[in-house]
Symmetry: C2
Subunit: 361 residues, 2 copies
DNA sequence: TTGTAGGCGTTATCAG
DNA sequence: CTGATAACGCCTACAA
C-alpha cells in the first residue's frame, strides 16, 4: 500500500493541495465552507493519509523529537526518569529518542552528534556530561537541559538534584536519631562520578554542624568487580561488601548507601548475617526513592527528588521556555526531601559480634 | 550559528553540490581526484557540516529510527530489553524512539499512529498488541516485530518467549526436587495479561506429566490495589500478599511468582514472617532473570530468555531480513533456560505454624 | 474562500 | 570525473 500524499487527498477531495494543508492543519486565519472541510477530512481518512514528517520538518525545522541521554538502565532511577519524561513529552506532542551511554564517554559524544544530525528539538542529559565543551557548543544550536548536580561554571541549563542537601538531610535524620558513628558506602569509582561526592560533602557538613569529630564518619568505597558491570549487580555487591566490612571492623550504628541499590545490598547483608536487626541494631538508608527502597521489609529510608515535577520541568524548559535561545541559561534547584521508612530508628548500643571482638583485640 | 548546507560546502570547496553529495556519501560507482575529495572533506569539517536528515529522509524514505513499544518501565525486565535493543540498534546505525504505553490500550494505538507518522523504519513490540488489527495493518507499511507469546493466528513476525516452556521448566525443577504441593502467585489481572496464562499452562502440564492431582497446584491471584500502580509496588505486594495467604492457609512447599518482582515479594514475606527459611522450608522462584532475582540473599531461581540474543534478533529481523516485505512473516522460538540459584531446594516436611493449625481445624 | 508557485536540503539521473 | 536539473511532500506567500 503506497503512502498517500496531500496531493492525493486533494485530488480525491477535488480541491487544491493548499486547501488540504490549510484544513488539516487548521491554519489560523483561513476559513472554509463546511462542505469543503468535510470532503477533505473524508478523503484523508479514506486514503489513510498521514503527513510526511520529513517534508514537514524540512519546512518547519521541527522534529518534535527530544533526545534523552541516560547513563544506564540498571539503576531503576533512570528508567523511572525515562518513563516520566517520555510520558510528559508525549503529552506535549513530543517523542523521545533514547540514548544509553553506558557511562562511556565516547558513546556520549557519538550520541550527541547523532542527535544533532537527527535534528531533535531538545536534549535532556540525566548526568553530568563528560564532553562539556561539545555539549555547550551544541547547546547554541539545540536547547539542552541537564538533570544533575549544579556546577556553576557550566553554562548549560540545569535542573539541580542538589546532592549536597540530600546528604545533609539524611545525615541530619540519623544524627537526630542519636547515631554518632555513621558509614557511607559507595560503589566503585567508575560508576557514580560526581553526585556521590556531593552527597558525601552534605553528610560531612552535618557531622561538623553537630560538632562531631571527622572519624564519626567512615567512608567505604567498594573495590571494582571484574564481572560484567552492565547488570547492576556491582552496586548491590558494593553494599553487601561494605556492610560485611563495616559490621566486622567498625562500630557504626548507621550506614548510608550512595543510592538505593547499594542500600539494598547493605540491608541484604545485615539480614543474612543474622546477628543484627534493622533498624534495631543498625539503621540503613539510601538515595533516589526508587521502588527498590520500598521493595523489601524493612522498607528503606531514602531521599526523594519529586521526579515527576523534575521531569515535567525538564521537558517544559525545552519546549516552552526559551532555553538555548540567545545563550539563555536557566538554573533551577530541586528541593529534595527525606522519606522516612522503617529502616532507620533511634540508636541503640550495638553488641559487637563474636568475630568482631577478634578484630578489635 | 546557522547550519551549513551541502551547497555551502560546495561553494567553499569550489565544486558543485552534487559532487559534495557523492563524496560525502562515498556513493558507489563514482570516483574523484584525491585533491577534490580532500577539498570537500576539508570544507565540510570547516563549516561543521551535518547533512539534514529531513531532506535526506524525504529522498530516501529512511529515518534510521526504530520505534520501541514497552508496557512499562517498572519491571526491570523492560528497561533491560530497552537498553539492549537500544545499544544493538545504535551499533547498526539506528536510533530508538521509546514509547511507554503504561499498558493503556488507547496509548498503544496513539503511539502506533505516531510512529507511522514519524516514519520509523521498524517497530518492536515487547508485549502482545491490544489493537491487533491496527498493528497488522501497519505492518504492511512498516516492518513490525513482536517479542512475546507466540500466537499462531496473528500474522505478525514474532520472537516467542515461550511462556509455556518456561512454566514447564520451573515446574519440572520443583517436582524433581520432590515438591508435591506448589503454588503459583499472580499479580492482579490487569497487568500481565497473556504470558501469565501460558506460564501457568506450562506448570500445569508438568504437574499432569508427573501424574499428580490438580490440587497439587494452588493458584493465587492478588487482589488489585487501589494505589498508584505505576510504581511497580503492586507486583511486590502481590507476592507478599500471596505468600502471606499461602503460608497461613496451605501446605505448599514451593511458590512460583509470575515474575521476579512477585518472587521478591514472596521471599520478603517469608523472611519477615520468620517462621520459615528459604529454601529449607519453602522454595521460591520467579521468571525473567532480572537483576532483582540476584539482588537479595538467597538469590532466586528463575528463567532466563537470553535477552541479549533476543534483542539482537529483533533488531536484525527489522533491519536485515525482509520482514514486512510482501507479507513476509517470521516466527522464531526463543529457547528459555532454567537458572538455578539458592532459593530452591529439596522438599522437606514443612512444620505448620501455630496459627495455621487454627485454620486447618 | 480557494489555487498557483516557489523553495526547504537532499539524492539521483543524465548529459557534458 | 563533474555539473545542471528534477524530484521528494509539505508549507506559505501571494494572487485570484
Amino acid at each position: 500500500m503506497k503512502k498517500a500524499t496531500s496531493r492525493d487527498v486533494a485530488k480525491l477531495a477535488g480541491v487544491s493541495q493548499t486547501t488540504v494543508s490549510f484544513i488539516l492543519n487548521s491554519t489560523p486565519g483561513v476559513s472554509f465552507s463546511e462542505e469543503t472541510r468535510r470532503r477533505v477530512h473524508e478523503a484523508a481518512k479514506q486514503l489513510n493519509y498521514v503527513p510526511n514528517s520529513f517534508a514537514k520538518g524540512l519546512k518547519t525545522n521541527e522534529s518534535k523529537l527530544i533526545g534523552l541521554l541516560v547513563p544506564s538502565m540498571v539503576n531503576p532511577f533512570y528508567p523511572m526518569l525515562t518513563q516520566r519524561i517520555e510520558n510528559y513529552s508525549a503529552l506535549k506532542g513530543y517523542n523521545v529518542l533514547l540514548c544509553c551511554t553506558e557511562r562511556l564517554p565516547e558513546r556520549e559524544v557519538d550520541y550527541l552528534n547523532l542527535l544533532a544530525e537527527k535534528l531533535v528539538d531538545g536534549i535532556i542529559y540525566t548526568f553530568t556530561p563528560h564532553y562539556l565543551k561539545n555539549a555547550v557548543r551544541l547547546s547554541r544550536q539545540i536547547p539542552i537541559v541537564l538533570i544533575g548536580e549544579k556546577e556553576e561554571e557550566i553554562s548549560l541549563s540545569t535542573l539541580s538534584l542538589n546532592g549536597f542537601k540530600c546528604g545533609a538531610l539524611l545525615a541530619q535524620h540519623l544524627l537526630e536519631l542519636g547515631h554518632r558513628s555513621i558509614a557511607y558506602v559507595m560503589s566503585p569509582v567508575k560508576s557514580v562520578s560526581y553526585t556521590r561526592q556531593r552527597r558525601l560533602d552534605g553528610i560531612k557538613s552535618k557531622i561538623q554542624e553537630f560538632g562531631l569529630p571527622e572519624e564519626s564518619l567512615k567512608v567505604y568505597t567498594a573495590r571494582p568487580v571484574s564481572s560484567d558491570a552492565s547488570d547492576g549487580l556491582f552496586e548491590i555487591d558494593a553494599g553487601y561488601q561494605g556492610a560485611e566490612y563495616l559490621l566486622k571492623n567498625t562500630d557504626v550504628t548507621a550506614i548510608i548507601g550512595v543510592n538505593d541499590m547499594v542500600a539494598v545490598g547493605i540491608v541484604s547483608c545485615i539480614l543474612n548475617d543474622g546477628h543484627y536487626k534493622v533498624p534495631d541494631d543498625i539503621s540503613v538508608c539510601g538515595f533516589d526513592n526508587t521502588f527498590l527502597s520500598e521493595m523489601f521489609r524493612p522498607k528503606i529510608t531514602t531521599i526523594d527528588y519529586c521526579s515527576p515535577y523534575l521531569c515535567k520541568f525538564a521537558v517544559d524548559m525545552l519546549v516552552e521556555s526559551g532555553v538555548g535561545e540567545e545563550g539563555n541559561v536557566l538554573k533551577l534547584e530541586n528541593e529534595p526531601h527525606l522519606v522516612v521508612r522503617s529502616s532507620t530508628g533511634p540508636v541503640k548500643a550495638r553488641s559487637l559480634r563474636p568475630d568482631a571482638l577478634k578484630a578489635v583485640f
